[in-house]
Amino acid sequence: MTNETRMVAAIENGTVIDHIPSEKLFAIVRLLRLEELGRHKVFIGYNLDSQLMGSKSIIKVSDRYFTDAELNQLSVVAPNVTLCIIRGYKVTEKKRVALPDTLRGIVRCNNPKCITNNEPMPTLFHHTTGSQVLRCHYCDKEQNISEVKLI
């Protein structure tokens, strides 16, 4: 663990999301709805030095374990983050995120004539494992994962 990562307070129990590209940090904060967590302590390290990535960010959330469905959403913006489950100050599990088959209410359709851009309703996209393309459930327009815009 680098000195800078250590600067972000250690947590006794909870979830650490590491290796976040710094420009994606706030998108991930939004996706996990961290501002709605209430009493949970959240530590955020932004623009830390990383040998691997140049600049990275890290989020530590105490006393909160996310479901796989919640965590897999992160793969839309940051497919290479590392997840650590912490219990008693120790890493008990390490995970990667995987793009799920369906994405509901996360990504905006890039077709301005799609019903989802004109009606108060959640978007829905389908994804085939191994492909880089998301297909809108409603208008069938396809878009590349690297070009998605979040809601």
Partner: protein, 309 residues
């Protein structure tokens, strides 16, 4: 969960043939009181006179009553009502909803929230499955089969929703397609990819020649629309190239029929109308039978019910 018809891709080969058999019963005898006491709602968020008249004629010939609107300007959607609210409201009144909308995916969403069946009568540039069903009906009616036919698509193949849906539906029947269009209106790559995926043989042509017409069983004409062109010079250059004239039909096979989704502007010269190959007005009439079958099917009536009526 109600039965719906939202997209042609959701229909299996067997289901397509079943619906065509049902439509055939209505061609033999169109006036039946199968839907006496039922109410069909036609919600046209975008005007389309021919499609609406066709659906309303189909409903009337089945003995149903029709409610609805023909112009979105007079509805509450202009007051900001959501599509969902409109559908839930009308779902209280009618037994089936026929919907035309300018937004893509609107029909699928309506079918997800509606308590009654939804029939897509066109959602933007996306799908128009009842048009495809009447095209298939007409092809089978004139050729005796849907199998192994040589189908020539002419005109605007880029934006033409009807040709895309027809291509998808024909994947079950081993067709050969000829795509005749200017480069700016050529068949999009995604549909050519679709052809390769399903083993559909196709050839592309820029020239609209007598030789291609001579090979065809079906000549499917579409309108080259001025508003599709960003470059009006390009429009002027191609607008008269994809016009069918009677003298181009000299080598045509006797079984060949000319189809067009209508409205026609000038892409089929009026002198073709009296040619025995012309079939676009009969094609429009088949829309009634195809839509009668689809309305009955989503309401749970079977081919047996109709044969024993």
């Amino acid at each position: 969960m109600p039965r719906n018809l939202v997209g042609i891709d959701a229909l299996t080969r067997d289901k397509i043939l079943y619906l065509l058999d049902m439509a055939r019963e209505f061609e033999l005898r169109p006036n039946r009181k199968l839907l006496d006491g039922r109410i069909v709602a036609t919600l046209f968020f975008e005007p389309s006179t021919r499609t609406r008249l066709s659906f309303e004629t189909a409903a009337n010939r089945l003995g149903a009553k029709v409610i609805g609107f023909t112009d979105p300007k007079v509805t509450s959607s202009t007051k900001g009502e959501t599509l969902k609210d409109t559908i839930l409201m009308v779902g209280n009144y009618a037994d089936v909803i026929v919907m035309r909308h300018y937004l893509e995916g609107a029909a699928l969403y309506a079918s997800e929230v509606s308590p009654v069946p939804v029939i897509n009568a066109g959602d933007g540039a996306h799908q128009h499955p009842t048009q495809t069903m009447l095209d298939l009906y007409t092809i089978r009616q004139t050729q005796g089969t849907l199998e192994n036919l040589n189908i020539c698509l002419v005109g605007d193949l880029r934006y033409g929703r009807t040709v895309h849906s027809l291509l998808m539906a024909m994947r079950h029947f081993n067709p050969t397609f000829h795509f005749v269009a200017p480069p700016s209106l050529a068949m999009p790559d995604e549909y050519k990819e679709y052809c390769r995926e399903y083993g559909i043989h196709y050839e592309e042509h820029e020239e609209f020649s007598e030789a291609i017409i001579a090979q065809s069983d079906i000549l499917y004409m579409t309108r080259v629309q001025r508003e599709r062109f960003s470059d009006l010079m390009e429009y002027e250059r191609v607008k008269d190239v994809y016009i069918l004239r009677r003298d181009m039909l000299r080598e045509a096979k006797t079984n060949m029929r000319i189809l067009h989704p209508l409205p026609r502007v000038n892409e089929i010269h009026v002198d073709v109308d009296d040619d025995p190959h012309a079939y676009y007005f009969q094609q429009a009439r088949n829309g009634i039978y195809a839509r009668q079958a689809i309305i009955c099917d989503v309401l749970g009536l079977t081919l047996e019910d109709i044969r024993h009526d």
